[in-house]
């Protein structure tokens, strides 16, 4: 069964790159541009895995994850955060917010797909 | 239709021949967009003598250049007997006023000879070369030199 990945990033470049890497790996990709858009899209279309950036306008990645976890339909949907920061504090914050895992930017498409696989059932 | 007897694989050009007074000229047919009858042109102030004015070509403003005057030949006043060749020259559309258009000629580069020295300086400026067909001498015109560069605005 084809899995759907929701990618949330305010950078069009990043969205395109994620789509390219994931689509090549056989995933169906849907997109959103910020946290608010992400919650709406997730609610409307659903997804098996979510990948989200942290720094976004309107609602950032942490806010999105918290919003997502508050939704009964998506409490157990895996969500990975994209982060250029590799410091522990940010990772901890992501974890606290409810992130399942993370991918460091700039991302290696192989590692990206790996990470998705690691959280997608 | 005149055909040059040998049409080799080398560059063959199609040219359109026209007449001004007693002389015959031709230009690359690719540059010519259409042939129209003459219509009176709106004159432009302080224009050179060969600039007859502008006409309306389906909504575009087309300058009309009297080729004979441009070549320094004696010409008559434009009338309904004249013909305007609408040509694309140097990114612009212009109308070339001639007496009549004759025929379409196919030519190889080899058949063209350099302009003889007897031709006037003025004509030589525009003529790329000459060739003969059926005993007619036809001058090949370089259109790009017809249109003058925009003159610097008078202070």
């Amino acid at each position: 069964m084809i899995k759907t990945v929701l990618t949330i990033d305010d950078s069009r470049t990043m969205r395109d790159m994620l789509k390219m890497a994931l689509a090549d790996a056989g995933y169906r990709v849907i997109q959103a541009v910020d946290g608010v858009d992400g919650l709406e899209t997730l609610g409307a279309q659903g997804a098996d895995v979510v990948i989200t950036d942290i720094n976004m306008p309107r609602l950032d990645g942490f806010g999105f994850i918290e919003g997502m976890r508050a939704d009964p339909n998506h409490r157990s949907t895996p969500v990975l955060v994209l982060t250029t920061e590799s410091d522990a504090a940010k990772k901890q914050r992501a974890r606290d917010a409810g992130a399942t895992g993370w991918i460091v930017k700039p991302f290696d498409p192989v590692k990206l797909v790996d990470a998705v696989r690691r959280v997608a059932a | 239709m005149n055909d040059v007897s040998q049409i080799t694989a080398a560059a063959v050009r199609e040219l359109i021949a026209f007449r001004i007074g007693e002389q015959e000229f031709c230009v690359d047919i690719m540059a010519v967009r259409e042939i129209r009858g003459w219509t009176p042109a709106t004159p432009l102030p302080r224009a050179p003598g060969y600039m007859k004015g502008v006409i309306n070509l389906r909504g575009a403003v087309l300058p009309i250049i009297d080729l004979g005057a441009r070549f320094g030949l004696n010409t008559s006043e434009p009338s309904e007997r004249h013909v305007i060749m609408v040509a694309h020259v140097g990114g612009r559309m212009v109308g070339l006023l001639v007496d009549a258009v004759s025929d379409i000629i196919q030519l190889t580069d080899e058949a063209v000879q350099p302009t003889p020295d007897v031709a006037s300086e003025q004509v030589k400026a525009f003529v790329k070369g000459i060739f003969a067909i059926d005993g007619r001498m036809i001058s090949l015109i370089e259109l790009d030199r017809i249109i003058p560069e925009p003159e610097a605005e008078a202070a």
């Binding site: 946290g35 901890q92 690691r118 | 502008v54 309306n56």
Partner: protein
């Protein structure tokens, strides 16, 4: 596998387009911060802009850009977190950094020269000092080590021959079709000589709350080698006491692998702090499986199948991730994110993207419609049909409708001048730096709209005039202080609509035009006669003469041989006018006036010597029939006509244009009093006035060239071309002739060139 090269290049194009937008946002945000109009969200947006540029650049391996952006981003991070202040010095540094960032982007794009290394390094040093304080090692460079590992370019990675990765796993294919199936077959069996590890995993509730699943963790471990799993469900309470979101299960895994501890730990990377985990090496020989409650015949596939099955609230001691109940997640409550969602953005106006060609074609067709309608109206009038007839009335309605369509269509192509204005702050900064002047740019009316064709051609003249204002208009800081002015000069760029045209004003509060000097230079260059008496206004406008330049040395800024005459010509080519007014010591104002659109004009159709001409309605003050007693001849030959209580020059247009050789008695014609952009008045003599008409402007330059005195052409109802007069130019050239005539009669005067 798809060929990644082309899509990769396409994404690169997207990246650079995005960079343009981000750089624009960056500048707008920084300017807002500079003017004190910023809030926290502005600072965040500025950070995000640089962050996004860096992110994309990293993916494409644009090292120089990434390095610079990283330092920039770090400083912005400090500021947005409130750890560093954003004072005046900082803002100015940030603005200059944004300029250099733009240079790096342009260089990375291959579109511009390589970045000025000294300038870039200088800004990096400045930013580091602001970030770390003076204690930082001067000139410390950001090395690639400080910046996260760059991913190699996409293509090579994807095309690389699969080699053993850190899991010791050799990928076979990127197909995930086999996900649900037995994984055992896909994993390469570890060499029998591999080590045996004992891994004990006791997940905390949060592991599941974050949607991690033990089943998947075990599956990942299985990729590393052969393993056996033992479940410890001893902590599982009775069903009645079961709290769904708690975790009661623990697993013990014996894994034989040669992948090493790091690889094993890596599997638990995401969940490490959400579980109790112990990984230790046991003896080389795998222990004989001693399982407590696990089924004898262990099958990972079955495990997965059960794990994927819908969670039934069964207390059965199977490996099943406990799904948290739909009550609030038991995770530690996190304080609401500081970047709380701002008020939802106002619903944006719905827009569509349209091919510009289609718009242009539509505008052309509408232009033809206007012409056809005019032609039809003319024929109807000529046919003698009564004005009250149904046809005539219908035609009038048609004219109204046509006008409406035209206005709407023109509005499609109308654009705010903002796109031109927004390049100017950077220009002003750079010119200010180059000339050593402190300058502040104030803009107004950015949303003023004008036809697209005009907007694009405004940039150059505005740029020249701003350069001019800063380089020549503004005084050096010392001079300004001495004059009691604020050290920082102000240049104002404004756009507004005025009487059917768009007006652009560029003013400075500098020293104004030095009239004595200007006149002196004009005389020295032979442009005017020494004894010529000129009004202040006329002296100011001397700077528009070709060959005029007040710069003693050709400065790098404005003196590149581009004088104000070139500026004026480019404005005139747009059908516009430019004038200057100046107050010594206070400043100067350049005023550009342009038609709103290059396409349409309200005109008065007139005849002169059998030629039909059109005068722009906006220039016309009044028309009158000349009477002999109102006409006088100055100096014996220059006719002037009385208008209200003034005398204005009477210009025979047909004569001036060469349509006629000899003048005609003015009383036989009609005089149209016009006003030039500079406010000068004159009366143009025509044979007759035919009427007012809206005409479609056709360019003469497209197929011919600019003609003095003629602004453009149009096609009248009869299909013939009529020339549209450039009233300002007519008056100006008449003046020159008048001067010439005067000079001819007074040989002591030098001729104007």
């Amino acid at each position: 596998m798809s060929d990644a090269a082309d899509p990769f290049e396409a994404i690169k194009v997207v990246f650079f387009q995005e960079c343009d937008e981000l750089l624009g946002d960056l500048e707008v945000g920084l300017l807002a911060i500079e003017s004190g109009a910023a809030d926290d969200e502005t600072v965040n947006a500025v950070f995000r802009a640089v962050h996004s540029v860096k992110g994309g650049a990293g993916a494409f391996g644009l090292d120089a850009l990434v390095r610079f952006a990283h330092v920039f981003e770090t400083l912005l991070d400090e500021i947005r977190a409130g750890r560093k202040p954003c004072d005046d010095v900082t803002v100015k540094t940030l603005l200059r950094a944004s300029d250099v960032l733009a240079d790096h982007v342009a260089a990375a794009r291959g579109q511009a020269a390589p970045v000025d290394e000294a300038r870039s390094a200088g800004l990096v040093a400045e930013m580091e000092i602001l970030t770390h304080g003076e204690a930082s090692t001067p000139g410390a460079e950001v090395t690639l080590d400080d910046v996260p590992e760059f991913a190699p370019a996409f293509a090579p990675v994807m095309a690389a021959a699969p080699e053993a990765d850190e899991f010791g796993f050799r990928p076979v294919a990127f197909s995930f079709a086999g996900l649900g199936e037995s994984v055992a077959g896909a994993a390469e069996v570890a060499a029998p000589a591999g080590q045996t590890w004992r891994i004990v995993l006791r997940p905390h509730a949060r592991l599941y709350a974050n949607a991690n699943e033990t089943g998947i963790l075990l599956r990942e471990l299985a990729r590393l080698g052969e393993m056996t799993v033992d479940l410890d469900a001893s902590a599982l309470p009775d069903l009645g006491d079961l709290a769904c979101e708690e975790s009661y299960l623990a697993w013990t895994v014996d894994l034989v692998t040669d992948a090493g501890e790091a690889a094993i730990r890596d599997v638990f990377d995401f969940v490490e702090s959400d579980c109790d985990l112990s990984i230790r090496l046991t003896e080389a020989e795998p222990e004989a499986g001693e399982f407590d409650a696990a089924p004898a015949d262990f099958d990972i596939a079955a495990l997965l199948a059960m794990a994927q099955a819908e969670v039934a609230p069964a207390p059965a001691p199977v490996v099943e991730p406990v799904a948290p109940s739909p009550s609030p997640a038991p995770v530690a409550v996190v304080a609401p994110p500081t970047s709380a969602p701002t008020a939802p953005a106002a619903p944006a106006a719905v827009t569509i993207r349209v091919d510009l060609d289609r718009v242009d074609r539509l505008i052309n067709v509408v232009g033809e419609l206007v012409i056809q309608q005019a032609m039809l109206a003319q024929r109807v009038t000529e046919s003698g049909l009564a004005r009250s007839s149904g046809v005539s009335v219908g035609l009038e309605d048609l004219e109204l409708l046509t006008r409406e369509i035209q206005d709407s269509v023109m509005a499609i192509r109308a654009q705010p001048v903002k796109s031109v204005f927004q390049r100017m702050p950077r220009l002003v900064r750079e010119v200010g730096e180059m000339t050593g002047k402190r300058v502040r740019l104030v803009t107004a009316g950015e949303d003023t709209e004008v036809d697209k064709t005009v907007v694009e051609r405004l940039a150059e003249p505005i740029t020249h005039m701003l350069r001019n204002a800063i380089d020549h208009g503004l005084e050096r800081p010392e001079e300004r202080a001495a004059a009691g002015k604020p050290i920082e000069g102000t240049v104002r760029l404004a756009a507004l609509h005025r009487s059917g045209r768009i007006v652009i004003e560029i003013s400075d509060d500098g020293k104004g035009i030095n009239r004595g000097r200007v006149k002196g230079i004009a005389v020295a260059r032979g442009l005017i006669a020494e004894e010529a008496v000129l009004s202040d206004d006329e002296i100011d406008n001397l700077i528009f003469l070709p060959g005029f330049s007040t710069a003693e040395t050709v400065t790098d800024v404005s003196g590149r041989g581009v004088g104000m005459d070139v500026v004026r010509r480019s404005i005139q080519a747009l059908g516009g006018r430019i004038s200057i007014s100046s107050v010594p010591g206070k400043g100067s104002t350049f005023t550009l006036s342009l038609p709103l659109t290059l396409a349409v004009l309200d005109g008065m159709v007139v005849t002169a010597a059998e030629q039909t001409l059109v005068a722009p309605l906006t220039a016309i003050v009044e028309s009158l029939t000349p009477r002999a007693q109102d006409i006088h001849h100055v100096g014996g030959h220059d006719p002037v006509i009385r208008f209200r209580d003034q005398f204005v020059p009477l210009i025979d247009v047909a004569l001036g244009m060469g349509f006629r050789d000899t003048p005609v008695p003015p009383e036989t014609g009609v005089a149209m009093v016009i006003e030039t952009e500079a406010g000068a008045r004159a009366a143009l003599l025509f044979d007759a006035i035919l009427g007012q008409r809206q005409v479609v402007i056709k360019s003469l330059e497209t197929n011919y060239q600019q003609v003095e005195g003629i602004a453009a052409a149009t096609i009248l109802g009869d299909g013939r071309v009529a020339l549209i007069l450039d009233v300002d130019a007519i008056v100006a050239s008449w003046r020159k002739k008048a001067v010439r005539i005067e000079a001819a009669t007074r040989p002591d005067l030098k001729l104007a060139s």
